[in-house]
């Protein structure tokens, strides 16, 4: 751990300590990021009006927002766990690209059914995550470095696998077409996009995991003080490997959804997704030095980013300027998070 990081952590814990005297204070804190989201939603619904028609609050648009948020959101949930144990995972975008490509290839060229594809792809995600965790803990290399390497490896494999081009997905019952049931991932159920349902489900499961289970406790304890955790009999290495594996699986799940959304699996997709996920986690109030943060926070963080993107798009802001705005908002959101 770097000097700066260690000092920051000490400061943060001090600050955290003086702030969070009671559960109610915590609750106010959580409300704060919800407040940020409310501000941005209000902005969007006030600004995006054309010819008396509200473009943002239009149901179709809202569904689009949630759908767009889902991919990043699912990855960000995994990223939250990794960051809580004071790690980082840069390989998530590459895993998404690789798994989307593999999913398309398996269905179009290898006669895999939907279930087989889903399982195989999740397994690939798990494997990469497992390696990330195992290499960084067993060889004690910082996860930043390890996942930087696996990002390159996964991306390389994806391009090699497909010869560098995207594999289009067309549905049908013939052998060389993807099974129709896979397209469910881009459908809606009761008007809600399936990716959004997946995102909501995953968020609930992992929020509960952190809050109600032993595993969740261990995650927070390890992020807060690894030595103390080890001395308390926690199998630190195991928990960390599990966390990285979960992050890999969730990235693969995002890859499956991505392929269904675009009707293709492209090895060049998902570039920069790791940064979006980290941004969502940070906006959601999770401390990058570990031990502090929640899934609901991350969900709100992902929503803030998504609504922002959508709003700037509806306002026809220049693409490049959009990036500038996004950067500024990230800083503002994190600062807002901190202030009392």
């Amino acid at each position: 751990m770097s000097v700066v990081k260690r000092t920051i952590r000490i400061e943060e814990q001090g600050r955290e300590a003086s702030r969070a005297t009671g559960a109610w204070l915590q609750r106010v804190k959580r409300l704060q990021s919800v407040f940020g989201l409310a501000v941005i939603i209000t902005l969007a619904s006030v600004l995006c009006v054309r010819n008396g028609e509200n473009l943002f609050l239009n149901p179709v648009n809202l569904a689009n927002v949630v759908r767009a948020v889902s991919e990043n959101g699912i990855i960000a949930v995994g990223m939250t766990l990794v960051i809580l144990v004071a790690g980082i995972d840069l390989s998530v975008g590459a895993i998404l690209g690789l798994t989307a490509t593999v999913a398309a290839d398996l269905m179009m060229h290898k006669h895999f059914g939907t279930l087989g594809t889903v399982l195989a792809v999740l397994l690939i995600g798990a494997l990469i995550g497992l390696l990330n965790g195992a290499v960084s803990t067993k060889l004690s290399i910082q996860s930043f470095i390890v996942t930087l390497a696996s990002m390159s490896i996964a991306r390389g494999i994806a391009r090699f696998w497909s010869g560098g081009t995207g594999i289009p997905i067309t549905y049908g019952n013939e052998p060389n077409l993807a099974p129709v049931s896979y397209s469910l991932l881009s459908e809606r159920i009761a008007g809600i996009p399936v990716p959004a349902i997946c995102f909501i489900g995953i968020s609930i499961v992992f929020a509960a995991l952190l809050r109600y289970t032993r595993f969740g406790r261990y995650v927070y304890a390890i992020g807060g003080n690894e030595t103390a955790s080890r001395l308390s009999g926690i199998r630190v290495t195991r928990v960390k490997i599990a966390v990285f594996t979960i992050c890999g699986v969730l990235s693969a799940a995002a890859g499956l959804i991505h392929a269904a959304q675009l009707n293709q699996g492209s090895p060049n997709d998902g570039i920069g997704y790791e940064l979006n996920a980290i941004a969502a986690v940070a906006i959601g109030g999770t401390s990058l030095s570990g031990g502090i943060g929640t899934i609901p926070g991350t969900v709100v963080g992902a929503l803030i980013l998504g609504v922002l993107d959508n709003m700037l798009g509806l306002l026809n802001v220049n693409n490049n300027l959009q990036m500038v705005f996004k950067g500024l908002i990230i800083i503002a959101a994190v600062v807002l998070q901190r202030k009392k």
Binding site: S2, V3, R6, T7, I10, E12, Q13, G14, E16, A17, S18, A20, T21, G22, A23, L25, Y212, T213, R214, F215, R217, Y218, Y220, A221, G224, N225, T227, A228, S229, R230, L231, S232, G233, I234, R235, G291, I292
Partner: protein
């Protein structure tokens, strides 16, 4: 207000949420005096000093320096006014060297603007020499022992050439001889006109050093007295609000069967580690017995406990037997499974997850028992925690209180609570009363006594010889990683223990 008061604090109030840490605290400091500040755990001593040092900006009340009203809102204000503080919880950067830590933020520069390391190292030396601290200026602080780190904090404070020096439990991790050296330095400083505020739970030190004493209780000012005019009992009465009798409970030694046996424990620390070697350490503890380990700092006392607890697998050899059967302990988890528990001396680094609630801190090793399948049983957990908090008198509103907000002594109690909760057979205690006030100390001694009566074995390391002699049935002395003597309670005296523990380079120690 005395004429020669260099510093006066009056009507200081401070609340953290609904915790009123200070409710009108007062303190008057004269030039060149050593002024002791006393009070139970959580009385507000550290908070008051944090205010003085500028670490707590928003408080109510007035601060006068040499009769002039001043405003201290940030650490820099305090430094400018000539106030320096040695922290109770060490605030050093582990990855930096001793010299870099001492000069952190005000490093000497060369003409090119880069750090002038040569000058920095040169200027560090006198401080290390004054404290007779045998470490290199270039050594990484993280590799030093807790006691050595504490002296580096002292050196850092000295280097600020402050007019007012605050020492918050500076000796809690020091050995006898280091404490002596520190006292010499304190006396010299006070002769030079530096005023010192000295916080300690050790009565002897306060009587030896201080001219005046201010007592606090529950965030309030109780009294300021001349040290010569009071007795220990007066002070205890003032601090606790009641008398504490019988510091060390009497107990018949009841020798049960052997619980834990250690044969030829040898430990070769990995290269670059600051841990000390152990060579052929053998001893045994019986059920219901309290075994003390005495030795100077760096003798290997902590290492013995660490090796028993499986913290150095792969570097340790020797045989460990629990209840007669040989066991292999290759991790803390395995140690816990054999019902060993370990209260470490460094509660901040190795003990607590400061950002989490104390309840979570207490139940960490016990979660398997406290959950059904994967899910935590919150109600049982809370009940367990409340029970322990009550029995150890932890001063906190609920198990949900964040550990980092407790006073130093109460944090120590939380660590103790954790390891008692798992109902261990063998309790390894490394400086268990570090930073704990008399009242609580007596409680912890009672506790040790009770545990021994329940048939548990206790191995206790302490730098306070009276504490060892008062509590232990038997004491072994170690020196440079070897056992150099063994004394039954009846024959142990501080002099005998000290001479056995300082065999040092004499042949007896080598053989």
């Amino acid at each position: 207000m005395g004429q020669d008061a260099v510093l006066t604090l009056d009507g200081i109030r401070k609340s953290f949420g609904n915790v009123h840490a200070l409710k009108g605290a007062r303190l008057e400091l004269r030039k060149g005096e050593v002024h002791a500040l006393m009070g139970e755990n959580g009385a507000g001593k550290s908070t008051l000093m944090n205010i003085l040092q500028g670490a707590v900006g928003d408080y109510e009340g007035e601060v006068f320096l040499s009769g002039k009203k001043v405003d201290i809102r940030a650490p820099l204000d305090a430094r400018r006014l000539g106030i320096a503080k040695i922290h109770q919880e060490l605030q050093l950067v582990p990855e930096l060297s001793v010299a870099e830590n001492i000069f952190l933020g005000r490093e000497p520069r060369t003409r090119l603007g880069t750090v002038d390391f040569k000058r920095m190292y040169r200027e560090t030396q006198p401080y290390l020499e004054a404290l007779e601290l045998p470490v290199k200026e270039t050594a990484k602080v993280g590799g030093l022992r807790l006691g050595e780190q504490q002296l580096v904090e002292v050196a850092k404070a000295l280097s600020l050439h402050a007019r007012i020096l605050i020492m918050d439990e500076p000796t809690s991790a020091l050995s006898e001889s280091e404490t002596r050296k520190l006292f010499q330095v304190i006396r010299r400083l006070s002769a030079e006109g530096v005023s010192i505020i000295y916080i300690s739970h050790r009565m002897e030190e306060i009587f030896e050093l201080s001219q005046r004493i201010t007592v606090m209780r529950d965030g309030e000012y109780i009294a300021t007295v001349n040290t010569r005019e009071v007795t220990k009992d007066d002070l205890v009465q003032m601090r606790v609000g009641r008398a504490v009798s019988d510091l060390y409970p009497f107990r018949e030694t009841s020798a049960g069967p052997v619980m834990l046996e250690v044969e030829r424990l040898t430990f070769h620390p990995p290269a670059g580690s600051a841990r000390k070697r152990l060579q052929d350490v053998s001893f045994a503890v019986r059920e219901g017995e309290v075994l003390g380990i005495a030795g100077l700092m760096g003798a290997g006392r902590t290492e013995i406990l660490e090796c028993l607890f499986g913290m150095h697998p792969g570097h340790t050899s020797g045989v460990i037997k629990v209840k007669g059967t040989e066991v292999r302990i290759r991790s803390p988890l395995e140690a816990i499974r054999h019902k060993l528990s370990f209260v470490t001396e460094d509660r901040k680094g190795q003990g607590l997850v400061l950002g989490r609630p104390i309840g979570e801190n207490m139940t960490l090793p016990l979660l398997r028992q406290l959950s059904r399948w994967l899910f935590l049983r919150f109600r049982d957990e809370e009940n367990e925690c409340r029970k322990q908090m009550e029995s150890l008198k932890v001063k906190a509103t609920s198990p949900a209180t964040v550990a980092g907000t407790l006073s130093g002594g109460n944090q120590q109690k939380v660590v103790l609570a954790r390891w008692l909760m798992m109902n261990p057979d063998v309790l390894l205690l490394d400086e268990p009363t570090r930073g704990i006030d008399v009242g609580a100390k007596a409680e912890i001694y009672q506790l040790i006594h009770r545990l021994a009566e329940q048939g548990k074995s206790i191995i206790m390391v302490s730098s306070e010889l009276p504490e060892l002699i008062g509590n232990c049935d038997r004491i072994v002395t170690v020196c440079e990683g070897r056992v150099t003597g063994e004394f039954m309670r009846a024959e142990a005296t501080p002099e005998k223990l000290l001479s056995a523990a300082t065999f040092r380079s004499e042949p007896a120690c080598q053989s």
